[in-house]
């Protein structure tokens, strides 16, 4: 697992594409956070990261598939997946290697946003008044959301040998899981209790709860389950090649 993890991270930084992904992410986050109207900090006027945590999932819906799309699709296409299989590696460790590699890469993309926290702290009227606990909680929540998106991206990459197709499907599935249930629950025919249950099935419900800085074991278990479910599904698709 470790060898695959290191290999993926190294290859990410060896190609220009990796840097373009990081720079694009920083640029989009920066635009939303500091320049674009409605979401920027200056208009918002409070020393909190709430704005950031409310728009960042929408960027991750696109960013994470861009990182995971080639993880398995590429191996299929170049046929290296067969090589990997001949090595004394189990499917599970291939998948987890790739999963953690993607997860770490996304986290590296996220690192520069810590600079926002420092900026906000220094722009606040009263020093040392930042809700550090809340922000740490929100980041923890974000990590769990990333894990879920990464597992979904990896699964989509296992479906096809075409990176673009993998990317598109992953964006679609991310979107449905994040926003779909939420929108679906708002249909008038579900009002009166059912809407609450439906919205609980989606990622957004749990993310909203956790990103406030409130860590609830239910939300953690939900995110871990979604991640594991898609990892198992990925394994199922890798195993499929052995069936015929």
């Amino acid at each position: 697992m470790k060898s695959i993890l290191l290999k993926e991270i190294r290859s990410f930084f060896s190609s220009l594409v990796g840097y373009i992904v990081i720079i694009l992410f920083i640029l989009i986050c920066g635009l939303f956070m500091w320049i674009l109207p409605d979401t920027n900090m200056f208009d918002y006027g409070y020393a909190s990261m709430d704005q950031f945590f409310s728009f960042v999932p929408w960027i991750l819906i696109f960013l994470i598939p861009a990182i995971t799309m080639r993880m398995l699709a590429d191996e299929y296409k170049s046929g290296t997946i067969e090589m990997l299989s001949t090595k004394p590696l189990k499917e599970t460790s291939i998948i987890f290697g790739k999963f953690w590699a993607s997860f770490i890469l996304v986290c590296i993309c996220l690192l520069p946003t810590l600079l926002y926290v420092v900026s906000i702290e220094s722009l606040a009227v009263t020093a040392n008044n930042l809700d550090t606990g809340g922000i740490i909680g929100s980041y923890i929540g974000l990590l769990f959301l990333i894990a879920a998106f990464t597992a979904i991206g990896l699964f989509c990459s296992a479906l096809t040998d075409n990176q673009i197709v993998a990317f598109l499907i992953a964006v679609f599935v991310n979107f449905i899981l994040f926003q779909g249930f939420e929108s679906f629950s708002q249909l008038p025919s579900f009002s009166g209790g059912v809407d609450y249950i439906i919205s609980q099935l989606g990622l957004q419900f749990h993310y909203k709860s956790i990103s406030r800085g409130v860590i609830d074991t239910r939300d953690l278990i939900y995110f871990a389950s979604v991640s594991l479910l898609f990892i198992f599904a990925t394994r199922l698709f890798l195993q499929k090649r052995k069936w015929s």
Binding site: L31, L123, G213, R218, S225, K242, W243
Partner: protein
């Protein structure tokens, strides 16, 4: 190979089923950790318990909607979050919708009609000024409705989402309002839950005022509770159906019989709000004669209050730091009287520093000729000082000559050395009767007689609460000839709204309510604004730092990484 497929799919199905089971289990056993600094998202224990016991679904309609600025949007978010938090414990018993009440109305007439209908339901508009653009100084006015309606058990209650304290910045107001949301919604749901509203009795019979002075407070109480008046001299007892009684500034002494009735009411668990003046003071008299001697009213309540744990002193509190002004004529200019407003040490206002829910986060409460209160060391009673004077105050003992001519001289602050002189005290516990071991055996027997069946209680049968305030004027409203009665707490000479009304309503609510929902009032939200000036001046700098700096670092890192990598490979080759 077919066999392999079967095992793989079955294994996946089993794992998926386990995950599902774990998630369902997790909803039963779960823990929450509120990492925010001020535990912003945690409901107080009584609120949790209360919403956990809801059986009917409550429908909440939030009217705060429609092109809101950031502050209002934040308030809307906090409202939604609070209701979601309620649902966390109620199991989805709170359903809310957000509507823009002005949607669909185009003509001014339709707008007016919609507004009229809403105001009948208690939803009032607030005019908000919206800055049109950054450079443009023009403002356009916009109507928003910071209200929600709680419909529950067939009743409907309006909840104001916004709460104003004097002297607050607009964005501070929103923060303060957010902190009160939990209490307000819980209270609204509770009100509709109760089969009957609590009953309050306003006592008369010993010169307690009942007229224009008490109009605002009594009519407000009448809206929220079953309000009744009782004459303590005429009734044989204080009926136990009253959850609380109010005794406001009696002008004549209570005889032992009346005190006995009050005493036994307290022993049965009744709650009393005492607003007592020990001295005969009057601004009217002062205006007429310019000077008078404040004399003892001999209310004859010393022993009973002492037994319960408080002593109202025969003195007046003077405060040089926090007081309200009165007008005096200092001379005449061109035949017209020259009126000045001068601080009047006898009218102190008390700003609470306590975080007790009755007074937490409240404006000053205005007193007029207040008596100080001492607490007595009776250990069975818990005492809380709710309001006290400022750090530059003193008491003067009766008899006191009050004279307007004192106002000619500026008070010497070095003479006001006392601080935090109590003026309102809360007493809680099982009270002991003032009449224990004082009654004739024959009388005791009469009380036990089946025809009366009201045996004497020497000690409270359950816990009770009383609030003692050393001034009756806290309860009064002023009035002008032109506008009639003013709001209780409004001081017309400096046009200031003091928090008297809120304070008294909180007192009553605290006395009659045992659910502890009021604890949520102690919630404090920290206000964390960004520095406006620096935002304006340093905007570009921070934009640059936060966007360009990470990009530069990434490129540098990439360059170094790729350079060493190439060197490594070419070096080898």
């Amino acid at each position: 190979m077919k066999k392999l497929k079967g095992t793989h799919i079955i294994r996946f199905a089993i794992l998926a089923a386990i995950l599902l089971a774990v998630n369902i289990l997790a909803t039963y056993v779960h823990k929450r950790f509120d990492l925010t600094k001020e535990k912003r998202f945690s409901l107080s224990e009584p609120t949790k318990k209360f919403v956990g016991k809801m059986d009917e679904i409550a429908n909440v309609t939030i009217f705060l909607q429609g092109n809101l600025n950031a502050d209002w949007q934040r308030l809307q978010n906090r409202t939604i979050e609070t209701l979601n938090e309620f649902n966390e414990y109620s199991g989805g018993k709170i359903q809310y919708t957000i509507v823009n009440p002005m949607e669909g109305t185009t003509t001014p007439k339709e707008k007016e009609e919609a507004m009229k209908e809403l105001s009948q339901r208690g939803v009032l508009p607030v005019r908000d000024q919206v800055q049109q653009s950054e450079d443009d100084l023009g403002f356009s006015e916009k109507v928003i409705f910071p209200y929600a309606l709680v419909a529950h058990n067939g009743k409907e209650f309006p909840v104001s989402l916004i709460e104003n304290r004097g002297g607050m910045q607009p964005n501070e107001v929103l923060n303060y309002s957010s902190s009160l949301l939990e209490y307000k919604f819980a209270q609204a749901i509770q009100k509709s839950n109760l089969a009957d509203q609590p009953s309050i009795a306003y006592t008369v019979g010993n010169g307690q005022p009942l007229g224009v002075k008490t109009l605002d407070m009594l009519s407000t109480l009448n809206k929220m509770y079953h309000l009744d008046t009782i004459d303590l001299n005429e009734n044989i007892e204080v009926p136990k159906i009253f959850d609380a009684i109010i005794i406001t500034s009696p002008k004549s002494g209570f005889d032992e019989k009346v005190k006995f009735k009050i005493d036994q009411y307290v022993m049965n668990g009744g709650r009393v709000l005492w607003l007592i003046d020990r001295l005969n003071t009057s601004m009217d008299k002062l205006k007429e004669t310019g000077t008078y001697l404040a004399s003892d009213l001999t209310t004859n309540l010393d022993d009973i209050l002492f037994k319960y744990g408080a002593r109202i002193n025969l003195n007046l509190v003077e405060d040089v730091q926090q007081n309200a002004p009165i007008p005096i004529t200092v001379g005449s200019i061109g035949g017209k009287p020259d009126i000045r407003y001068v601080p009047w040490v006898y009218f102190p206002f008390a700003i609470s520093t306590s975080d007790h829910p009755i007074v937490h986060n409240m404006n000053g409460v205005l007193f007029q000729f207040a008596n100080s209160i001492d607490t007595i060391a009776n250990p069975e009673i818990k005492k809380t000082v709710l309001l006290h004077s400022s750090s530059a105050s003193r008491t003067v003992s009766a008899p006191i000559r009050i004279s307007l001519s004192d106002l000619k001289f500026e008070p010497n602050p070095s003479l006001f050395r006392d601080k935090n002189i109590p003026m309102a005290v809360l007493l809680e516990g099982k009270f002991k009767s003032n009449f224990a071991n004082r009654l004739a055996p024959k009388f005791l027997k009469t009380l036990e007689d089946p025809s009366i069946d009201n045996p004497f209680l020497a000690e409270g049968i359950k816990k009770s609460k009383q609030i003692v305030i050393g001034n009756g004027a806290v309860f009064y409203n002023d009035f002008t000839e032109r506008t009639g009665p003013l709001q209780c707490g409004f001081w017309k000479f400096n046009r200031e709204y003091y928090a008297n009304k809120a304070f008294l309503l909180n007192c009553i609510e605290y006395l009659v309510d045992d659910s502890g929902l009021m604890k949520a009032r102690s919630k404090d939200l920290v206000f964390r604004p960004l520095d406006d000036k620096r935002i304006k001046n340093e905007k570009v700098k921070w934009q640059f730092v936060n966007i360009a700096l990470p990009i530069v670092i990434t490129i540098l890192f990439g360059g170094v990484f790729l350079y060493f990598r190439r060197k490594k490979y070419t070096g080898k080759g």
